[in-house]
Symmetry: C2
């Protein structure tokens, strides 16, 4: 479960301040998929990065599975994120010198784990379900936009995180693939009982969530 | 006008070859907006980069406004692209150390032009129509995904190019902003009589085009 209490995020200082998150209260239960929508610039990515402990809020509390992440030091925070959070960034962010499959396996290594048979089987299975079996050995520069996005989704699911945060998973995908990806995400999240927030402005994604919340100018709408 | 004749693009060599474009014939007239759709990995971005002279085809001809760009040397090609082509990349590609407004003005400088009053007025007008007036002084790292995408669109229109190539303009935008951006693109293209290809998998974009063409596995569908 994830809880944000009175979370505020302000960028900039003095006269050029942007209140990206304005007193946000939000709870996402285990096994719950929350869909987050809102206009461009409304604070969706900011909310996701704060929830995933990638960004410290200006004030307020962030609780992930009982741990107050706003209270952890940088080193503990890094370890926490690595083990507990699966994040799909809006701008993808793959390791440029690793192939699609290596990008997935690297997550296991970062977790201090070894790349054993189970890890490889998991990576192959995810790549297969994402329609990337024949691109597994390619570098990001050799992949299309939608292929890169799918690798990023596979990478976020690799280590079976407790919290899955996805920033616009279908933005580079056509309807058919978008559906395939959402079905995979839905299956993974429900079968492992984790919490998930999926940011999107694709109406077709709404059906895959348990609840939809809208944010406008940093304020969650009732 | 733009004409692709018998265009073929093959990536890789020997046993790991990908035929990204397979004998493509396509003409886009002046003032015509062509919408290009197709599954992820089907060759849309490749077609766009070949049409915009950013990538040389493996074989075939690319004619832009009467110039055979497949026949130009690298230096002439760079100058041609700079003056004749407005390109919005799928992964945005803004200059990270320039603000939104500076990213637009830089295009004028690259063209050997000076940043005069007219250039600044043009930049301000575009930013305004893209809903970015209050973000003009921000760096890309301080902008949301949809805001960056809009800056990229403004930048492609800055120098009034003869050929406008846009790779998924609304992927990071909600419906309302997506419509606003498409109306701007439509207005700009029609009023200047240029040719345009817009790649998308957003059905709402289809209404803004004069014609829709689908590509599947590198082959244009009749
Ligand atoms: N440098 C490269 N080396 C090898 N294969 C490549 C390279 N660049 C692209 N490809 C492959 O060529 C095919 C077409 O890629 P392209 O980027 O044109 O697709 P696309 O239609 O734009 O896809 P998307 O909708 O996902 O953006 C894909 O299968 C891709 O993996
Ligand atoms: N480092 C920063 N400095 C200043 N302002 C910032 C910074 N990062 C983001 N912002 C601003 O905070 C607001 C919220 O940004 P955010 O990225 O969360 O929006 P978003 O809802 O994800 O938008 P999109 O749908 O376009 O991706 C935007 O107005 C953005 O310009
Ligand atoms: Mg965002
Ligand atoms: Mg593409």
């Amino acid at each position: 479960a994830l809880t944000l209490s009175n979370v505020r995020k302000v960028y900039g200082s003095d006269d050029q301040q942007v209140v990206a998150l304005d007193d946000v209260d939000l709870t996402v239960d285990d096994e719950e998929i929350l869909i987050l929508i809102g206009p461009s610039g409304s604070g969706k990515t900011t909310l996701l990065t704060v929830a995933g402990a990638l960004l410290r809020p200006t004030s307020g509390l962030v609780d992930v599975g009982g741990t107050d992440v706003t209270d952890l030091g940088d080193k503990e925070l890094a370890r926490f994120r690595r083990d507990q959070v699966g994040f799909v960034f809006q701008s993808v962010n793959l390791v440029p010198f690793l192939t699609a499959k290596e990008n997935l396996l690297a997550v296991r290594q970062l977790g201090g784990g070894r790349i054993d048979k189970a890890a490889k089987a998991r990576a192959n299975e995810l790549l297969d379900e994402l329609g990337l079996a024949d691109r597994a050995g390619n570098l990001p520069s050799q992949l299309s936009g939608g292929q890169k996005q799918r690798v990023a989704i596979g990478r976020a699911l690799m280590n079976e995180p407790a919290l899955v945060l996805v920033d616009e998973p279908t933005s580079a995908l056509d309807s058919k693939l978008g559906r395939q990806v959402m079905e995979l995400l839905h299956r993974e999240i429900k079968s492992r009982g984790v919490s998930a927030i999926i940011v999107t402005h694709d109406d077709r994604v709404l059906d895959f969530g348990d609840r939809t919340v809208e944010i406008v100018d940093g304020v969650l709408q009732a």
